[in-house]
């Protein structure tokens, strides 16, 4: 059987759009961040719906405006943020799975709930992998140089129009403001008053939020000294000498010198990735890690 290749043409490609997968796990030795989908839960759900391997590459959107045309039939899944979706200018009511035919144009409009949407395709987008990952990162894949003239290659699979029962799009899990976290490597350097403050404060996301990190508005004053630079991971929460709390996300550098006060659970990272600027969150400290 000859495998037909399709091309997804990026007719409109808004800022904050990138290719992502599970992340890059052998780059830290060279100082290369993990990258990967900010909301891993939604990303995995999309690949599950399409029966893809866990490493299939998807598009991550954080702003409305994407317009994409498919040259061949395929099956796509949209997960994460709930947005206004149109196919050939007709509104799609349940967009969790969409059967695409040759020439279809899909548009992603305003986001109703959440702020990161995943567009996955059966078989994944076929992109060059670097150190085992197809995730975009500036100095490696130069996503800022990608233009609307470019297309993403995929394998076309003939589709039946009737997809049967579609899974329901659920967003309630990320609408909670509780973010679960473990004690960070430097938690013990905080006074008990500071620890209590961090667990009881309702923090709000500041406008300084991107794929590298999410800074919170409320300050936690401290006299902690800068520490020797040591490893950090996505989900590591840092406290700066100025009292700022920064939650490191997928594109954060692999080491840092600020005290590492918390480590978010995977689920906590996915929930936080769906929060908009100004939304409230509260850290919920988990007691035991390994029983």
């Amino acid at each position: 059987m000859i495998q037909v290749l399709g091309k997804a043409k990026l007719l409109r490609y808004p800022p904050g759009t990138s290719l992502q997968d599970e992340g890059r796990f052998s780059g830290a030795q060279y100082g290369i961040p993990s990258s990967g989908a900010m909301d891993q839960r939604s990303f995995r759900w999309a690949n599950h719906l399409l029966k893809n391997t866990s490493s299939a590459v998807a598009l991550e959107l954080s702003q409305p405006g994407l317009q994409i045309q498919f040259t061949q039939a395929c099956l796509i899944a949209l997960t994460g943020a709930n947005a206004v979706v149109t196919l050939n200018q007709k509104k799609v009511s349940n967009s969790s799975l969409i059967s695409i035919t040759e020439g279809d144009i899909l548009e992603i409009g305003s986001f109703l709930t959440g702020c990161r949407l995943y567009l996955c395709i059966q078989g994944g987008f076929q992109v060059e992998r670097y150190l085992g990952s197809g995730s975009d990162f500036d100095s490696i894949t130069f996503p800022s140089k990608r233009s609307t003239q470019d297309g993403l290659i995929y394998f076309s699979y003939p589709q039946s129009k009737n997809l049967g029962a579609k899974p329901k799009w659920v967003t309630s899990w990320f609408e909670s403001s509780e973010i679960e976290a473990y004690r960070g490597a430097d938690w013990r350097l905080l006074t008990s008053a500071q620890q209590e403050l961090i667990c009881s404060t309702i923090f709000h996301l500041s406008k300084f939020s991107n794929r590298m990190g999410i800074q919170l508005e409320e300050l936690v004053s401290n006299q902690l000294e800068e520490l020797p630079t040591n490893p950090v991971f996505p989900g590591t929460v840092q406290l700066t000498p100025g009292g700022k709390i920064i939650v490191l996300m997928r594109d954060a550098g692999v080491t840092g010198g600020y005290p590492r006060i918390l480590q978010l659970t995977e689920e906590g990272q996915s929930i936080l990735a769906q929060k908009k600027v100004g939304e409230p969150i509260r850290f919920q400290l988990l007691e035991s890690i390994i029983g």
Partner: protein, 229 residues
Amino acid sequence: MKPIYQILSPVIGELVWDQHPSDNLLAYQFAYLNYIQIKYSSNLLEARQGFTRLSLFWKNIKSQQQFVEQVSDIELIPLPLSNTLWQVPVCYEPEFGQDLNALAASKNLSLTELIQIHSNPIYRIHFFGFLPGFFYLNGLSPLLHTPRKSVPILAVPPGSVAIGGYQTGIYPMQSPGGWHIIGRSPIAFFDSTKPIPVWAKPGERIQFVPISGTQFRNWKQSYPKSASQ
């Protein structure tokens, strides 16, 4: 030099050494890194090294549990550090080091003295972090320790050699940065078109070699010279 192991999440934990960064500590970190990468290769997703920690990212909770049960029995001798010495050309002129004059003035040093204090020592590469290809070096003279700028600048040019706190480093690519820029190197420090994107390894050493502005502009090689000493 036996570390303790601190569990940070079901899949993340770190080996903790409670002492200052040094060649001796680095040699022990390498011994642990090497041992863990061989013995636990099928359970480990990634290891990340810092000045006083070695962090381990496990494939699942069971992998970490198994390590936790065995870690206290591990007895290792330090791995000898490399003799490789890389010579990194740097043009220390205000044209390329926008903070050079201000830093020298704040330290009551002449430019010549500052350049000499920065380019004399041999620095040890401990690990890469902050940016792809950015190496963390140990060995800056206390005479040059300087608090970071309170407001970072938006675009530090690639190749910039800078001082921040008790550290010195080179920005491999354009980036926002709060370190004091004292010069620039004409060579490349990160190239993602190569399977291994950096030319040096942790444990190797570098020395800064002052060059003139003319030499900088005519510099052809992308990589530095190396020698074993």
